[in-house]
């Protein structure tokens, strides 16, 4: 192992120079892990005109940034991106390499893991560094890769004790982003990109991307409705309450499947993970998949007709009753308080 073999790397996903939130969330987490391991945190930025983005990563804790900047790399493409990372990992052999569990991260990370024969765990919700005894052998500073498994009924801790590089994709929104007041360090390492024929086997004919206007992750107040809202008509009560409080509307998967609300507003394991100050769970039974996306809200108010609904187990305040009855009462009370 060379002197660099203990690094933590974070792949910085970007679209048109704009970073994916999850990449900076991972830098903030990676900073903590690097402090525990007493190693360097490095960002890996691939794109076109992305040097300023690379510099931005220092503000989230990176000690150093590998930049691969080339006009041909403007859009994410599996083949050049994976080839670049394969070569970088082969050469520098980081100890940990993290990716967001986005469509891009889940397309890219497995190719790199396959090439470098690294252990790769998908969709982690937590990462820790710990000494581990596994099958009688002690391992120092292993990456514990924690993820829900089997439909969320189980939480598994995965390790890769025998590989040089421990790789993981991490779900969006589960780690907190902490910008630092001052950049950690400024060391850009530019890596040249030499186009290869292989990279051109796939070409992009068209691309349609719309930045989502919904910002559930950043909302301090979220009012979420579930299947218990029964009809799209009745679901409007959720919007009324959100509007009154200046919050965002959200829904459970069942509410999305029933067509009450769009998928981009879904909270839970297959939707967004949120941690608002206040979360209303209305007509939501509280399946484990939903709880996974909201249980870290500071205060949870659950409204449900069923007093046995599991959502009450994680709520701070419980109201047993029908939403059609409770919500107008709450809105009235709130409005008269503000007068």
């Amino acid at each position: 192992m060379d002197e660099f073999s203990n690094d933590i790397w974070v792949f910085i996903e970007q679209h048109g120079g704009k970073p994916a939130d999850v990449s900076f969330e991972l830098l903030s987490k990676g900073r903590k892990l690097a402090d525990t391991m007493k190693c360097a945190l490095k960002s890996v930025v691939i794109g076109d005109d992305v040097k300023s983005l690379a510099i931005e990563t220092f503000r989230y804790g990176a000690d150093e940034s590998y930049v691969i900047d080339h006009h041909d790399l403007h859009h994410y493409a599996t083949l050049p991106y994976s080839r670049i990372l394969n070569e970088l990992v082969d050469e520098h052999k980081p100890r940990v390499f993290l990716f967001g569990a986005t469509i891009v991260g889940r397309d890219l990370a497995p190719r790199v893991a396959s090439h470098t024969r690294s252990g790769l765990t998908a969709d982690c919700t937590d990462l820790q560094i710990s000494n581990v005894t596994y099958l009688g052998t002690e391992f120092k500073d292993l990456l514990l890769q924690i993820r829900p498994a089997f439909g969320g009924n189980i939480v598994a801790t995965i390790i890769a004790p025998d590989t040089q590089t421990q790789m993981a994709t991490v779900r969006e929104g589960v780690m907190e982003m902490h910008p630092l007041p001052l950049p950690h360090a400024v060391k850009l390492v530019e890596i040249p990109y030499i186009p290869a024929e292989f990279d051109q086997l796939i070409t992009i004919i068209e691309q349609h991307r719309q930045e989502s206007k919904v910002n559930l992750k950043g909302a301090p107040i979220i009012v979420a409705g579930g299947y218990g809202m029964q009809t799209k008509e009745k679901f409007k009560l959720i919007q009324d309450l959100a509007h009154t409080l200046g919050g965002e509307v959200a829904g459970s998967r069942a509410a999305v499947d029933a067509g009450f609300i769009l998928h981009e507003r879904q909270v839970g394991q297959t939707g967004v993970t949120v941690r608002p100050k206040l979360y209303f769970a209305i007509g939501i039974s509280g399946a484990i998949q939903h709880r996974a996306g909201m249980q870290e809200a500071k205060k949870i108010i659950a409204i449900n007709t069923d007093p046995e609904a599991p959502i009450f187990d994680i709520a701070h305040y419980s109201i047993v009753g029908d939403a059609a009855d409770v919500i107008p009462k709450f809105i009235d009370a709130y409005k008269s308080k503000l007068k």
Binding site: P110, S114, G119, I154, I158, P161, F312, A315, A333, K337
Partner: protein, 295 residues
Amino acid sequence: MHNSIVLVKQVPDTSNISGKVMKDDGTVNRSKLSAIFNFEDKVALEFALQIKDECGGKVTAVTMGPPRASDILRECLYMGADEAFLITDRKFAGADTLATSYVLAEAIKKIGSYSFIFAGRQAIDGDTAQVGPQTAEKLNIPQITYAEEIIGVSDDRVKVKKKIDGGFEILESRLPVMITVLKDAAQPRPFSAKRVMAYKGAKSLLELEKMAEGNSLLYVDKLVYEYKNRSLFIPTLTAEDLQIDFARCGVKGSPTKVYAIESVVLSGNDPERIENSRQGMNSLIDKLLEDRILG
């Protein structure tokens, strides 16, 4: 003419799993769960069959799994696959995605030439979406993941619509290519009654061995011969048949290990009960204002 290989997987029905089905080493005791055809892989098979309908060629289903995975191979034959391979060996047990992709890539090299490899985006038992890309990397071919639609196929290219975060892309790839498909991309065709009648007796080598239990080996050879003649043999490949590096298969070849398993338990939090009345709402709002949650 375009030959397709379709990677399919038999998965435990994960809708209801308890700690009782976990083995001590943290892997799942699949024998205790009902086993189903991973739905996205059925969609992948439908894609391959559509290409066959349009361009001709052969569709070959491949699964790596325990002997009973031949159940889903028969289903592939019922839907229209021309051939179905069972890749099975005790040495493959406990494989993570890396070890699985190694075996699949080696099996694919053995099975023959192809324009397409199709697979579901992910399997519901792990939801990792890793085996497709890992296999493509080992075969050194391009990949298109999260495919929603095949727009057009020519002699050496394919145009595919794929999902990206916040929208979609249309990509054109040279062949051969690995394509992993989303569940809404196509409606898998129903089993053809004629094909069910024709293939319900199809058997893998292991199933024929079981039939021959207590008889001489020669009898198995004879059975295989007969089943092959009637096109009812499910070709079976073992680690030895594939002549591969055993150290890269199964538990041995899997860098990731399950270190701990925890059932998710309810936190048992005792919420404060708020009366469903105007007074109750008032007190709740007061508390929220006091804690600076509201206002």
